[in-house]
């Protein structure tokens, strides 16, 4: 019996020790809920600690789980910063955020910031097409969104279910903006959804193209370029009929424990130096107007050289989202 | 036998407190099944009392009620005058020996034996001498450090007995303790148990389905069937005078017969069993009334082998031997008197040349007074 008792005492003591981690002085730590790649998280956390002496705790999950977690903890927030949440998520949960005017607010183009300071654009994801060069010759690769619904690409295009991914929804909204949010436009969308290989996770698209599982994929710029830069035999196309840059934002969670540290983190993560570092290492396009992106990374054009969809009405597509997704779901339930 | 005297010797000083038991109207149900049905018994201090019956008769259930492992719905059990209803099993001062020995496989012999002593907070200086004495008593000296997996069935049984007795329980309960031993060991061990009990005078309740074992070992026996007590008595009472057909059939073998009254003699009644006339003790029964009766095989004598002085007063019969079973100390015959009337007859004549052959016709007889009558 003695043995058992000492055994339990040992674990009880261990448990107490672990739960009583030294209460870091307020302002000496910050908890960041991030949807970014773990290696991005780690680099920024390290740099931030070096710069400010504030310890960063990173929690990484997909954006769906992250926002659910922030909501679940609403009454007693455990996180300080939401990092890498899409602009649409930020806006749809606008009550969860605490306004803060960052020192980098003015350096961020108006399209990528909230005038009431509740969120601030961090990175931009330009929607692109990606193809595997063994399976699709450069000359034959689709150049436009419209090319994707050509019969010859039936079962060749990978596309993530827009119900599962903010970026996939943005891609869909681009096509609807180009083709018209009407019967004719939806007919084309239906053709795309019928012909495409629908994945349930956006990351599976570039990965599958890299492995040759899919000849073509609809994805985000950084995801495609990461593979290209890593030496994969893939090509990247910026659709000639126009694309959109999807905004990933940073926010401070309302009622958080370390608001001062959170503010510093927002400032630091949007600073020019850190942004340039992220661009160089992880090919993520910054939401700042004062960085010459094209010069930094080979093969990635500056934002000004990319054809953007004219009159892309962000508020409209944000509002229209539930109905569009329901329609997509109905189509998918019908055709798959 | 040397073992027994040795046992008696070694335990001569031990004398624990022991007590009488009273069971009043105990009923135990399992769902719809009434396992024990309004059983009342009184067991005297120091008595060796056996519950005997076929499997499923409720004897083990009753024993477990006494131990406290189940709680009867009705009735009361008294140890001396003390009601046991609300006393949990570990607070009842009983020793129990189980059918499958239940020797703790993770403990050595010595540790098995001291298990109860430690639980009962025996002063530490007493533990070792008492344990060693108990181990010696059951002839396991030298095996104290052995693990149960290294012992034979008989040895395990001794460990179980030593473990139960070493705590000097007020009542010793034994649940078919010999059923897993081979025939020879069973007979040997049962006489050891009996001798031990005689010496210690611990009130003992013993459960068995083996009637021979019960007869050999008990002061008194309760025969049970369908949860009810059929008969309580000393071994010879139960054997010679079974209270009903069940007891008669369960204890020993018997010829069970049924017939019609044909006529009355001075000291007997004649009954016709399928045309064969047999004599039974005199009954005041009208002609034609149906009678059930039993005759033990050992009540018969084969007449030609019996001294004339002993054949006096026997009712004689004639029949053809249909089977012979030679058992050494006796020979079992089946004798056909008529179509469908076959009697089991034991002969204790061991002269080889007087053993009858199958097909021979023999004359044999019995004393009508030894016939048991059951009125249905």
């Amino acid at each position: 019996m003695k043995k058992y008792i000492s055994f339990f005492v040992f674990f009880a003591v261990l448990g107490v020790m672990l739960s009583l981690q030294p209460p870091a002085a307020v302002g000496k730590e910050v908890v960041v809920y991030s949807t970014n790649l773990q290696k991005v998280n780690e680099m920024v956390a390290e740099d931030f600690e070096k710069e400010t002496g504030i310890k960063v705790h990173m929690y990484r999950a997909g954006s769906g789980i992250t926002i659910k977690k922030i909501k679940a903890e609403k009454d007693r927030p455990l996180g300080d910063v939401g990092w890498g949440l899409s602009k649409i998520i930020c806006e749809n949960n606008i009550d969860l955020w605490q306004p803060y005017k960052s020192v980098n607010f003015d350096a961020t183009p108006a399209a990528y910031r909230d005038p009431q300071y509740r969120w601030l654009g961090q990175m931009l994801h330009v929607m692109v097409l990606m193809y595997h060069r063994d399976l699709v010759k450069d000359a034959e690769a689709p150049r436009t969104w419209a090319d994707l619904i050509k019969p010859k690409w039936k079962d060749k295009v990978a596309y993530c279910n827009p119900n599962n991914s903010g970026s996939a929804y943005t891609q869909l909204s681009i096509m609807l903006a180009l083709w018209g949010d009407d019967k004719a436009g939806w007919k084309k969308v239906e053709t795309l959804l019928t012909n495409a290989k629908i994945t349930q996770q956006s990351s599976l698209v570039p990965k599958g193209v890299n492995e040759g599982e899919f000849p073509i994929g609809i994805t985000m710029e950084y995801a495609a370029h990461r593979f290209k830069a890593g030496g994969a035999n893939v090509g990247v196309v910026y659709p000639e009929d126009g694309t959109v840059a999807y905004t990933e934002a940073g926010t401070i969670i309302k009622g958080c424990k370390n608001p001062e540290a959170a503010k510093k983190f927002i400032d630091f993560s949007t600073s020019k130096e850190e942004r340039m570092k992220i661009v160089k290492n992880f090919l993520r396009r910054p939401a700042r107007s004062d960085i010459d992106f094209g010069g930094l990374v080979k093969g990635m054009p500056a934002l000004s050289q990319i054809t953007l969809v004219k009159d892309y009405d962000r508020p409209y597509w944000s509002k229209r989202r539930p109905e569009v997704l329901k329609q997509v779901k109905d189509i998918l339930l019908r055709v798959k | 036998m040397q073992g027994v005297s040795y046992l008696l010797h070694s335990f001569s000083e031990v004398s624990g407190h022991t007590m009488s038991l009273k069971i009043v109207g105990v009923t135990k149900r399992f769902g719809d099944l009434v396992a024990v049905n309004r059983v009342s018994l009184e067991i005297e201090t120091g008595e060796f009392f056996t519950l005997l019956g076929p499997s499923g008769c409720g004897k083990t259930t009753l024993l477990r009620s006494i131990a406290g492992f189940n709680r009867p719905e009705e009735g009361e059990i008294y140890f001396d005058e003390k009601k046991m209803k609300n006393i949990p099993p570990h607070k009842r001062d009983v020793g129990m020996v189980f059918q499958n020995y239940a020797v703790f496989p993770h403990l050595a012999v010595y540790n098995n034996v001291i298990y109860g002593l430690k639980a009962k907070k025996t002063p530490s200086q007493e533990i070792e001498p008492r344990a060693l004495k108990a181990i010696e008593m059951v002839r396991l000296k030298g095996l104290e450090k052995r693990l149960p997996s290294q012992l034979s069935g008989g040895q395990l049984q001794r460990v179980a007995i030593a473990r139960a007795l070493v705590v000097e329980p007020e009542v010793l309960l034994m649940d078919e303790p010999l059923s897993n031993l081979d025939a020879k060991l069973r007979i040997e061990t049962r006489s050891e148990i009996r001798a031990l009990q005689q010496k210690l005078k611990t009130t003992t309740i013993y459960v068995t389905h083996d009637q021979e074992e019960a007869l050999a070992i008990s002061d008194r026996i309760a025969v049970m069937d369908f949860g009810k007590i059929q008969q309580v008595g000393r071994p010879w009472e139960i054997y010679t005078n079974p209270a009903n057909r069940f007891v008669a059939e369960f204890i020993g073998t018997t010829n069970f017969l049924e017939g019609e009254v044909v006529s009355e003699n001075e000291d007997s009644t004649l009954v016709s069993v399928k045309g064969v006339e047999l004599a039974i003790p005199k009954l005041e029964k009208s002609k034609g009334s149906r009678i059930s009766f039993a005759i033990r095989p050992e009540a018969f004598r084969v007449l030609e082998d019996t001294k004339p002085s002993l054949t006096k007063g026997l009712f004689s019969l004639k029949g053809r031997i249909s089977s012979v079973e030679y058992l050494g100390t006796l020979t079992k015959y089946e004798i056909e008197l008529a179509e469908g009337v076959i009697l089991k007859v034991n002969s204790y004549d061991i002269e080889p040349d007087r053993i009858k052959q199958r097909g021979e016709t023999v004359e044999f007889g019995y004393d009508p007074k030894r016939v048991l009558i059951y009125e249905d």
Partner: protein
């Protein structure tokens, strides 16, 4: 035995489960009866589910794949168990240990690896095509069943292994004496005798494969699968139909519940209590046959471990961003140890704590289930501990987060909430495995102790627990292993600083960083083999039934 101790214990366990599982789950599950438009209660979600063909197909696909996997795992696992238990194949402990490993490798990793090998452009696919075999790819029904079989056969194998080794030899001999050939004896006697165990194993396979979303998400491609749809609905950024996630969750629960009830019903009629007196002898084989039998065993065991070996190879390759290059490199390990050493500690610590607590609660619970059958509290306990089997981890995670973020007991944001969720999810395994061990333990031993004056509670610790030790240990190890690879609730619950190896693996895979993921997978498995091997050896000879 009418000991208040056990009634109290049962009550306590039930209260713990009501408080930590049922109340949080009910709160969140209310959603399945709500929609945004309709009032507080509606069955609209269920009507929707019934009216869409795709939902129906997802339902049938899930059940079909679950059943098919159950059957294939039986075909693989039972003969293997027979060989290992009855013939003197070489290195039994090793076979048993290796066979438990697939349970440990997270299913999303094995799915990724199988795609590398058997995808449309997979290495093996190319090879097969080059030698003229028209192999298409792993995607679809075949691939799903294949991957589940490789990953889940250990459940059937381990359970039938313990059953085979407790069959009374004389029963099989009786059949042979009656003129039955060995094969006939196996089919007509041994197999039916161990069907309850096979069924329990197949049941676990069915439930696990029906609930798994990692594998179908990758290998099912567009095939509608219930678990994938539920997961996606639940974790999508903006649910278009929040109630539907819970509806699908509940339908999943109903499927698994139904299978449990069917299994119970079957077992109730077939309770083959066996005396383990005559344990089967291990038959010595002539050298050639022994070689063949051993090779067969190792072939199966190693085949199922291919994902692990490939992951190990990848972990030593150079990664440039997400792209794997065929050059040797220790980068992934250096990264794993220097930047993320904490998750290694976290995994072991959390799994150990949760396993201990699970054992502490689960063993008494198993005792009550076995020794107090037919009592009201045992029945209640039986139902209560069935629930964690069927609640998806993500759902439980969110439910716990909400329930313990305020009020008297604040656990959200501490490591304890992880330990809590692990305990709730895995304790039933410990309870079931303890219960099956207890079936083989003669109750007379406990009664002997009680009749010697030791109270039922003390008897439990001094006799019962001691005699169950081997089995408890085996159950605990398996629990420990499955906790370490628990992803779905961890991803929701882990507080800052408490990331685990499995989280790092998942992040790696999600971020296309197979290097880190593989490195962690290798560390995880290698560090677990040694204790497993040790314990399997230690337990050999002791009568145990794992699970």
């Amino acid at each position: 035995m009418q000991s208040p101790f056990w009634r109290l214990t049962a009550l306590l366990i039930i209260i713990v489960f009501v408080f930590f599982l049922i109340i949080p789950i009910v709160r969140i599950m209310k959603g399945s009866f709500q929609t945004e438009e309709a009032g507080p209660f509606t069955l609209k979600n269920y009507k929707d589910f019934a009216s869409y063909r795709s939902y129906w197909r997802s339902f049938f696909n899930s059940v079909f794949i679950g059943l098919a996997s159950a059957i294939t795992t039986i075909l693989v696992g039972v003969p293997l168990a027979f060989i290992v238990s009855r013939w003197n194949v070489a290195g039994k402990a090793l076979i048993i240990t290796l066979s438990t490993l697939p349970l440990m490798l997270p299913s999303f990793i094995s799915a990724f690896v199988w795609v590398i090998l058997l995808g449309r452009q997979g290495m093996i696919t190319h090879f097969l095509r080059s030698i003229g075999i028209p192999f298409e790819s792993i995607y679809g029904y075949f691939g799903l069943i294949f991957v589940f079989t490789c990953q889940l056969y250990p459940y059937v194998f381990l359970m039938s292994l313990s059953a085979f080794s407790t069959i009374d030899e004389s029963i099989e001999e009786a059949a042979k004496v009656l003129g039955s050939s060995p094969l006939r004896t196996f089919i007509t006697v041994s197999f039916p005798l161990i069907t309850p165990s096979i069924l329990s194993g197949a049941m676990l396979v069915f439930m696990t494969s029906v609930e798994n979303f990692g594998v179908p998400m990758i290998i099912g491609e567009q095939m509608p699968i219930l678990a994938v749809q539920a997961y996606v609905q639940f974790t999508s950024e903006i649910g278009t139909h929040p109630g539907m996630a819970h509806t699908m969750g509940i339908i999943l629960i109903l499927i698994t519940m139904t299978s449990l009830v069917v299994q119970r019903h079957y077992l109730a009629k077939r309770n083959f209590i066996q005396s383990a007196r005559g344990r089967p002898l291990v038959k010595g084989l002539p050298p050639l046959k022994k070689l063949a039998a051993s090779s067969y065993c190792y072939l199966i065991v190693f085949f199922a471990l291919i994902p692990f070996f490939v992951a190990m190879v990848i972990s030593f390759m150079e990664m440039r961003g997400p792209v794997i290059h065929a050059k040797f490199s220790l980068e992934s390990y250096i990264y794993a140890f220097t930047r993320s050493a904490r998750p290694i500690f976290n995994s072991y610590f959390l799994a150990t704590v949760a396993t201990l607590v699970s054992v502490l609660i689960g063993v008494p619970a198993g005792y009550i289930l076995t020794r107090h059958q037919k009592t009201a509290y045992s029945g209640a306990l039986d139902i209560v501990i069935m629930l964690p089997f069927v609640v998806a981890g993500t759902v439980l995670g969110i439910a716990l987060t909400i329930a313990f973020n305020k009020g008297i007991l604040i656990l959200t944001g501490t490591w304890m909430i992880l330990a809590l969720s692990y305990t709730i999810r895995k304790m039933p395994f410990v309870a079931r495995s303890s219960s099956s061990i207890l079936y083989q333990l003669d109750p007379e031993l406990e009664e002997a102790s009680i009749s010697l004056g030791v109270s039922p509670m003390k008897t439990f610790f001094k006799v019962t627990v001691r005699l169950m030790f081997g089995g408890i240990l085996a159950g605990a190890i398996l629990t420990w292993v499955t906790i370490i690879s628990e992803l779905s609730s961890t991803i929701v619950l882990y507080p800052p600083g408490w990331s685990t190896m499995i989280i790092e693996m998942f992040q790696g895979v999600i971020s296309d960083d197979m290097g880190t993921a593989s490195a962690f997978a290798s560390i995880l498995i290698l560090s677990t083999i040694i204790p497993l091997l040790f314990i399997t050896r230690y337990l050999r000879g002791e009568k145990t039934s794992i699970l």
